[in-house]
Amino acid sequence: MLVTKKIPGGKLIQIDFKVAYGAIQKIAITGDFFLHPEEVLDEIEKTLIGRQIENVADTIDYVLKKNDASFIGVSSQDIQELLDEEHEA
């Protein structure tokens, strides 16, 4: 499922994901946001595989903290909300 949202006051985010039994099976996050350092996005995506969908924001926060990384133009909560909206819909 591909979902897209322009975060008000922020950037555009697109998430291509698949969920089975409440767990993330695949996820690819793209968009015109910023993340410093950039390479951390790969680790975020890898770490999310197998996690329950309701734990996405916590998982992202954990990876960000571990790498002293930060998103600009999108937040872990924005990603959680976008997935929740679409998954429940």
């Binding site: 322009k6 555009l12 690819a28 793209t30 015109d32 910023f34 350092p37 950039e38 600009i72 133009g73």
Partner: protein
């Protein structure tokens, strides 16, 4: 930062992959202390579409359109959006991180103010629009993107000299979500250029350098052959290579 030395690499034209590779090579050199912090100003030939580090190639670029028009494609090392580099000036500022605020959003504004103030010198009222844009009458004239690696800050950005909206949007797949949020009645009204405000590219270039001279002492330089050779190679192997461009 008054009177800090800054290596100035005046306006020169390269292809897209070489331009992006030059940024990386000069970042490494500034990091290891083998060249001064640097400001380079450049153009792109052939015209080129660049996408942000996190963007999906297929979502952003009309590859067929680029092919037909002889337009190059590159993926940048910085985040941000897709840009059609044609009639524009591009700058890259490569300095130690501590030259600007640690807060990245704040540092965007600090660097973008050189552009805003250069336009002011020319009688054009522009404003910084967070996170990384500069607007004239709510129309985008400049987009900027930043990365930080090993203590070195790179910010590069474009200033549109002329705009061919028809061509731009035949090469980019612009999402309707982005347009609607900016409350722009039509795609064509979202962007502007120096030309539309009666500013010559040359005059902007001079004013931009004058703004930097307020804070820095320029050491004018040229690209070394070693830099050009290394960038040509890195450009081909990385920035212009489908492994990198198509990674997302």
């Amino acid at each position: 930062m008054k009177n800090m030395k800054l290596r100035l690499l005046p306006l020169q034209t390269f292809n897209g992959p070489t331009n992006m590779a030059l940024d990386e090579i000069i970042m490494d050199k500034v990091c290891e202390g083998s060249c001064l912090p640097t400001l380079r100003i450049y153009k792109w030939f052939p015209a080129c579409v660049s996408i942000g580090y996190f963007q999906g190639l297929k979502q952003e670029i009309n590859e067929e359109g680029c092919g037909k028009n002889g337009v190059d494609m590159v993926r940048r090392q910085t985040g941000g959006g897709a840009v059609f580099h044609d009639a524009e000036l591009t700058y890259s500022l490569i300095v130690p991180e501590e030259y600007f605020s640690k807060d990245i959003k704040k540092s965007y504004e600090e660097i973008c103010m050189y552009i805003v103030n250069a336009l002011k010198r020319l009688g054009v009222k522009a404003k910084f629009s967070p996170i990384n844009d500069i607007l004239i009458n709510n129309q985008k004239v400049s987009g900027n993107a930043q990365t930080r690696k090993k203590g070195i800050l790179l910010q590069h950005g474009t200033i549109l000299s002329k705009v061919d909206v028809e061509k731009m949007f035949s090469l980019l797949n612009v999402g309707k979500e982005k347009i609607s949020d900016k409350l722009v009645a039509s795609v064509k009204k979202a962007v502007t250029s120096l030309e539309q405000h009666g500013v010559l590219e040359k005059d902007f270039y001079d004013a931009f350098l004058e703004e930097f001279k307020e804070d820095y002492e320029f050491v004018e330089d040229t690209y070394s052959q070693e830099e050009i050779d290394a960038a040509t190679k890195l450009g081909k192997e990385k920035y212009g290579h489908m492994h990198w461009i198509g990674m997302r």
